[in-house]
């Protein structure tokens, strides 16, 4: 088992309690992004409260207590405050020290994506979710190095290719010269470009050498 590599989990939960969105949304509206912060509630003196902000369509019907912070281009940012609830999925993740990477609401479900440090942590979070939301669904679990944090990026400076090299490369690519089996051979691509076959080969070789020298160590 690969411990320590982290597991990216996408979980679907009801929007009703213990979700803080209980009573805020009717379930049909989509919410594109949720942000959250903890604040001292002025109304309750020293009781901890959670402030939630979300982005949704500007004409969303919302109950009293949910305020529009600002709107732009058909969308609006809304804000509301709820008392801390220790069964809330966000409180569960906080207690486990697990950061939430994305929260949305779609088709009446609260979709939370988070990154658990290891398998025991993931199990403990899912146990807590299941306890308060028996119909919790785990949509997706990813553990491979293809997660963005661990992907292997290189920078390709396309301006290193000459105009002519780019043109030859693009024409050859679109004609299927790089497919297997080939959609067009060197002679055919050269002809469509109006150049000699040997000139075509020189351009292609130079372009490939530049690109591959960047991609390969």
């Amino acid at each position: 088992m690969r411990m320590g590599s982290g597991i990216r989990a996408e979980v679907s939960l009801p929007t009703s309690a213990p979700s803080p969105f209980d009573g805020v949304l009717d379930g049909s509206a989509s919410i594109y992004s949720v942000a959250r912060s903890t604040a001292r509630s002025a109304a309750d003196g020293d009781a901890d409260a959670v402030v939630l902000e979300f982005i949704a369509d500007a004409d969303l019907p919302v109950p009293d207590g949910v305020n529009v912070v600002f709107d732009y281009g058909g969308k609006a940012a809304y804000r509301f405050e709820v008392p801390c609830c220790e069964d809330s999925p966000f409180a569960v993740l906080d207690r486990h020290g697990v950061p939430v990477s994305e929260t949305t609401i779609r088709d009446g479900r609260l979709l939370v994506t988070f990154h658990a440090t290891d398998l025991p942590t993931l199990r403990s979070v899912l146990d807590a979710f299941r306890e308060s939301c028996p119909n919790m669904q785990v949509l997706r679990l990813l553990q491979s190095s293809s997660t963005p944090e661990e992907s292997d990026l290189v920078t390709v400076d396309r301006s290193e290719l000459t105009e002519r090299q780019r043109e030859v490369l693009t024409t050859a690519y679109e004609a299927g010269y790089f497919d297997h089996p080939k959609g067009a051979n060197a002679g055919e691509v050269a002809e469509s470009l109006g150049i000699d076959r040997s000139t075509f080969s020189e351009h292609i070789a130079a372009a490939q050498r530049k690109l591959l020298s960047t991609l390969l160590d």
Partner: protein, 60 residues
């Protein structure tokens, strides 16, 4: 200067569909997570898992 970032991943992002024989939960997993599940059991109910509970890979 025009610059583009190319993710160089030598493994394709293929996923498998895992269906737990005990709790019937259906979860999409990648190759590394598949290996973890086979070793550790279902992440939700802890039931042991066999190769047959995880469908063949599909392109994500």
């Amino acid at each position: 200067m025009s610059v583009c970032h190319v993710p160089v991943t030598m493994t394709s992002p293929r996923t498998h569909t895992f269906v737990c024989p005990e709790c019937y939960r259906e979860i999409e997993v990648d190759g590394a997570m598949r290996a973890t599940l086979l070793e550790a059991g279902c992440v939700v109910c802890g039931a042991p898992i066999a190769e047959g509970d995880i469908a063949d890979p599909q392109t994500a």
